[in-house]
């Protein structure tokens, strides 16, 4: 049998910057030395739940786990019920953390790797077929669904993204990514963990959540700057009314970006606004420049098929969206399957949420409803109509809080005497809107 192909941990030249910790650049050699030192300190075996807050430490812990042959669990949702569910699914798992966190599993607290010098260690290679990370979907049921990511698939996706966004060494001076998305979310993982390992990009460590953080972070880095963000964050940043330093590109994902916002940002900031389309299961698979139309160009090597996408290293992955192929090799998104809702970068199925609601003690009937503007209006949330004689909206909310991702908690819970089900047991939208008006009145 021929030896299994292996790909280097870092496809970077010596001396290149992998990450910027504030104003301090971490070079390839320094990073590799620190990752090897940390790898030697890890427990003998187990899945690694990477719960680091700092982006550099997240990157370091991922690389160290990979060097030790351990699989990283990517968990962006840190609610206690989600951590418990994952700890139950992976009884051998331990967590790597860099701050105080209540976790229902053994914890390794990451300290600064001191006294490690940029050495001349040979670049380790990781077998392409080895599972490097596992990402999870469906935050609503408490039962996470695992999506395994072989190292080869992650590297190939990073190469495709680097080609698409001109982030290869031959494309120009090295760039720095300033990101507002957590590195444990698939989009954040691909852009701020995989790109620094595999393309001519450094990620900026440190917290960048509020607009003032992000503007300061953008001003703090030299050279080509790329902002990696989401529609809601971009909207808040643009509304803050400050001008950022010169940017090479703004990249947005997790929800469709309004063409009007993209046009305003392009004009106001003088920067191209690009979007990535992807999903946790498949990773990033296509991109577009929002102002140029609604056609998405698939990444090199990915292939759209009816109801699915073929991704190098992963095979055929079903898609949650209906898509329509266009003549020029691009495709158009026709919308989500009616049952799927998305909020804060996380997906849930309304049917599953309804099932959770039905399991609450005292609930006789109930339904979750998503407003039309759920993905574009930051104040929009799901509504639940509930029939539960003798129980209050607060009690229902309290019971739901224990069993679902808080982002999908209904706001409001509307208590009603009965749901306006038709003869088939279905709930017409218009009848629900009527209920809402009646509920708001009294």
């Amino acid at each position: 049998m021929p030896p299994e192909p292996a790909l280097p941990l870092l496809a970077r030249a010596p001396g290149e910057v992998v990450c910027r910790r504030g104003t301090r650049p971490v070079t390839r050699g320094q990073f590799l030395a620190e990752a090897m030192a940390l790898a030697a300190r890890l427990p003998e075996h187990g899945h690694v739940m990477n719960l680091c807050g700092d982006r550099y430490r997240t990157l370091l812990a991922f690389a160290a786990a990979l060097l030790r042959g351990q699989v990283t669990l990517l968990c962006a949702d840190r609610s206690p019920h989600r951590l418990r569910a994952l700890a139950g699914l992976y009884p051998d798992a331990y967590a790597i953390v860099d701050q105080e966190i209540e976790a229902p599993l053994p914890v390794l607290r990451l300290e600064e790797v001191e006294g490690v010098r940029d050495g001349d260690a040979a670049m380790p290679a990781i077998p392409a077929g080895r599972i490097a990370a596992i990402a999870f979907t469906s935050g609503s049921t408490g039962e996470p669904t695992a999506h395994a990511k072989p190292w080869g698939a992650l590297v190939t996706a990073a190469e495709a993204a680097a080609r698409r966004f001109r982030l290869r060494a031959q494309d120009g001076p090295p760039a720095t990514i300033i990101a507002t998305v957590p590195p444990q979310h698939m989009y954040g993982f691909e852009t701020t963990i995989m790109l620094p390992l595999q393309s001519a990009v450094a990620c900026l460590a440190g917290e960048t959540f509020y607009p003032s953080d992000v503007f300061e972070a953008m001003a703090s880095v030299p050279g080509r700057r790329i902002l990696v963000t989401t529609p809601l964050q971009l909207r808040a940043l643009f509304a803050a009314g400050q001008a950022p330093p010169a940017l090479e590109a703004v990249i947005s994902a997790t929800a469709p970006l309004a063409a009007s916002l993209a046009a305003s940002v392009e004009q106001g900031w003088g920067v191209p606004v690009l979007e990535i389309y992807g999903a946790t299961e498949a990773g990033s698979i296509a991109s577009r420049r929002t102002t140029e139309g609604d056609g998405w160009l698939p990444y090199d090597g990915t292939e759209l098929r009816p109801g699915a996408v073929a991704v190098p290293g992963l095979g055929e992955i079903p898609l949650a969206d209906a898509v329509e192929p266009l003549a020029d090799g691009r495709f158009r998104l026709l919308g989500r399957r009616a049952d799927v809702v998305k909020l804060g970068g996380r997906r849930a199925s309304l049917a599953e949420l309804n099932r959770l609601l039905a399991e609450v003690e005292g609930v006789e009937d109930g339904v979750f409803v998503a407003p039309e503007d759920l993905e574009s209006n930051p104040a929009a949330r799901l509504t639940a109509y509930v029939v539960a004689p003798g129980r209050s909206a607060e009690e229902i909310l309290g019971a739901l809080r224990e069993r679902m991702d808080p982002i999908f908690l209904p706001r409001p819970v509307v208590m009603v005497r009965a749901l306006p089900r038709d003869r088939l047991g279905k709930l017409p939208r218009s009848a629900l809107a009527e209920l809402r008006r009646a509920g708001a009145g009294g």
């Binding site: 440190g206 509020y210 509304a239 930051p378 104040a379 909310l397």
Partner: protein, 88 residues
Amino acid sequence: MAEMRPEEMEVARLIVSALSLETRPEDIAPEAPLFNAGLGLDSIDALELALAISKKYGVQLRSDDERNHRIFASLRSLTAHIEKNRVR
């Protein structure tokens, strides 16, 4: 229920209008947590609220502010932070 000061009432109104909450401003308990239990705000709300606060009071919230947890702990602590740092 703890008494609400006029300044707290003003911030309560801002929270309710910025986030389109169904709660009435006077029903927000001044010392109850704004996130998780209590009002049950989430990270999207935090961003939206930060934007509304910076527009109205000129106060910029920051992640690396170590007091961030305490600032957002309750209506009372948030109001105190705004009063101390407001520029308009």
